[in-house]
Amino acid sequence: MTIRTDEAAATLAEIDGVVARVKRSRIYRTAAQITILWGGVNIVRGLLVALWPATFGPHWFLIDLFGVAATIVILRTRPTGVGRFPLRILAAFAIVYAFGWVWSNLIGHFGPREAIAFWPTLFLLGFAIAGLLFGLVLTAIGIGLAALVVAGYLWSADAFPLWQAAVTGLGFIACGLWMRRS
């Protein structure tokens, strides 16, 4: 068999394309699990805070801590096709969380309504930025859901906690299911 230079180059490009698709698919599948998990966390948190505000209102972050622990388990145990998820992703989450905590508590003194709007939009911003690296669909998801959260903040009045839970919860679950198929 004789292979010309241009044919060899085209074949190597074909290989690179398949490898990139496999890696992207593995990242999407792990991201899908995390997205579905946080969809569930949002719904549970929203319902608990709406139904028992005195009990869960001040302690909503305990539900999020469960989500963080489950996220770490997923990141540590799921293959990605490019090796294990690097610790720098967890570090990125920690930095974003620290940024959010400083702004919402020390500088901004956000009330409950502002906090409910701020935290999901902060992480959806991360979604949108990650999409620039891994696929523009994630960017569209991040911007779209953030816009719905802001709309709820402005116009849903007392139903905002439930609106936020429904939008981000069901939105995340739908996005996760879509990503799992990709």
Partner: protein, 99 residues
């Protein structure tokens, strides 16, 4: 002096199969048939025939299992398959380097 091309791997569908399977870490389970079909753009029958050829050469191994009630075939590159694919890629790179 470089090795020659691997005729079995160089066929486009088999090349995509091997590229996809070797992109995974050896410790991973492999790719399921449906995912492989999507990555290669092959039909069921076509993919099955190419996988048979690669399996006969010892380049891939397939595992069949049931997930719930649905059969699931998972395909993984063998050590020999990974070596053969790496040799073929090295051969292609050598062609370009010598041009």
């Amino acid at each position: 002096m470089r090795d020659g091309p691997d005729d079995l791997i160089h066929q486009p569908v088999r090349l995509r199969i091997m590229a996809a399977l070797t992109a995974l870490d050896p410790s991973e389970d492999g790719l399921d048939f449906t995912r492989l079909k999507s990555l290669t753009g092959a039909t069921d029958g076509n993919l099955g025939a190419h996988l048979d050829q690669l399996a006969r050469a010892g380049y891939v191994e397939a595992t069949k299992a049931f997930v719930g009630r649905r059969p699931r075939t998972t395909v993984k590159a063998t050590v020999e398959g990974r070596r053969a694919f790496a040799r073929h890629v090295a051969f292609l790179k050598a062609i370009i380097a010598e041009a």
